[in-house]
Subunit: 136 residues, 2 copies
């Protein structure tokens, strides 16, 4: 049917240092900007894509109930309430690239008894990512 919107769910990640975050996700995941607006003074919002999978970044705005992990917890690794499950063809390579760009491994990429090869990292803005794929 023409004109019908395809249903999608994409995570919106509030961060401190939005412009730095855009550059980090480009380096870490090979992400690119589908769209971005704003500047360092007024805050940025950016629509990002990784191989066609989309997410959003925005400078946090607590007055609008948009809190970065750094605002909700003094513990760097313990401030996120949603983690992103990223499925890619080569999780080992993506994980290594992200760590090289400044992410911290929470646990390494390994085969899990629930049938996935997956690792978890926390990025410099406090957001958590599981990077993996189902085992054949």
């Amino acid at each position: 049917m023409s004109g019908v919107v395809k249903t999608s769910i994409s995570p919106m990640l509030p961060v401190r240092r939005g412009i730095e975050a855009i550059e980090f996700y480009k380096a870490a995941f090979g992400a690119w900007e589908v769209f971005s607006a704003g500047d360092e003074n007024n805050g940025v919002v950016a629509h990002m894509s990784v191989g066609g999978a989309e997410f959003w970044i925005a400078d946090e705005a607590p007055d609008f109930l948009n809190f970065s992990p750094e605002s909700l917890s003094a513990e760097f690794r313990s401030g996120a309430t949603v983690r992103m499950v990223m499925v890619v063809e080569d999780p080992d390579a993506m994980f290594a690239r992200a760590v090289a760009a400044g992410a911290e491994a929470v646990w390494p990429v390994e085969d899990k008894d629930y049938g996935w090869r997956v690792g978890r990292l926390v990025d410099p803005f406090g957001h958590h990512w599981e990077i993996g794929k189902p085992l054949k």
Copy 2:
């Protein structure tokens, strides 16, 4: 190319009362379970779909750095660090359905000057959703 995994990014939502959450998201969004495992005693994990758009729910596990919004903030509306942007053909209907199922409107569905018709709600587990679509 055969055998190549399609890249995807799906949010994983830690909650308290996981079994109740599965039922809530079914009622609120018309979601269905692609897969689920576990039970009330050991915690549940569920892979959910809304019109082909996917997300995950799991009982929180703070020992594994999986915190629900209720664990990170005493303020019900202020505990989430990622919000989900849900794009659907009829955001007004989806929003009304979710509120009828027990979600709370943060702001109503309305036309925004940035070119979207969108509203925001917080669900009974503290997760925030923007439900909308781009204006023509």
